[in-house]
Symmetry: C2
Subunit: 125 residues, 2 copies
Amino acid sequence: MTERPPMKAINLDEKFALITEYFTPKIIAEHNGHYVKITKIKGEFVWHDHENEDELFIVLKGRLVIQFRDGDVVLNPGELFVIPRGKEHCPIAEEETHILYIEPAGTKHSGEVDAELTKHELEWI
Amino acid sequence: MTERPPMKAINLDEKFALITEYFTPKIIAEHNGHYVKITKIKGEFVWHDHENEDELFIVLKGRLVIQFRDGDVVLNPGELFVIPRGKEHCPIAEEETHILYIEPAGTKHSGEVDAELTKHELEWI
């Protein structure tokens, strides 16, 4: 785990350039017990929810569809959405999509679902 | 106060287009007791701190200098920075600068400093 330098801006393009695998979130900052994470995705993740945590998603590149049981939310670059706690969802992206998201530090990216894509330990970059 | 529609992406360009005054933050989303706020600034704000709240800043347009007593942090578009709680700071921007920032819902944008630029009630847009 590498902490970010304390007194320097964090450049998102530089951080995304370090990511080589899809569905492998990295931590880039921490504030008030929340982690700021970035991830590249392509394809479909897994259906899951987070019982006690809202998740804020911001799309920076590509196109993200957040599938819900009662409909989809589509995010293009420069758009954000808060997934309410307890609401089952499944992200999917046809093309490579870059996402910044923020959630409480202990949140597991696939909730209580232990899937092939689940990462149990997230690294700082 | 207008709540955002619950199941639609929030477009940042559309929200920024609604802002007509500098140093007048608007709330666009809420997650885990934090507000997501956007603001346009030009010029210098006021020196202040937030005793118990870290503030996450993301610059989307322009150039933000966060002045600290021990040095400056410069943020260009696509860069972010967490201002640690208790650390006195003063944002300044020579050109019009668009900022998204996130902090606990009760945080006052000028801390305990009551300045001419202080806004006491923030609106949702």
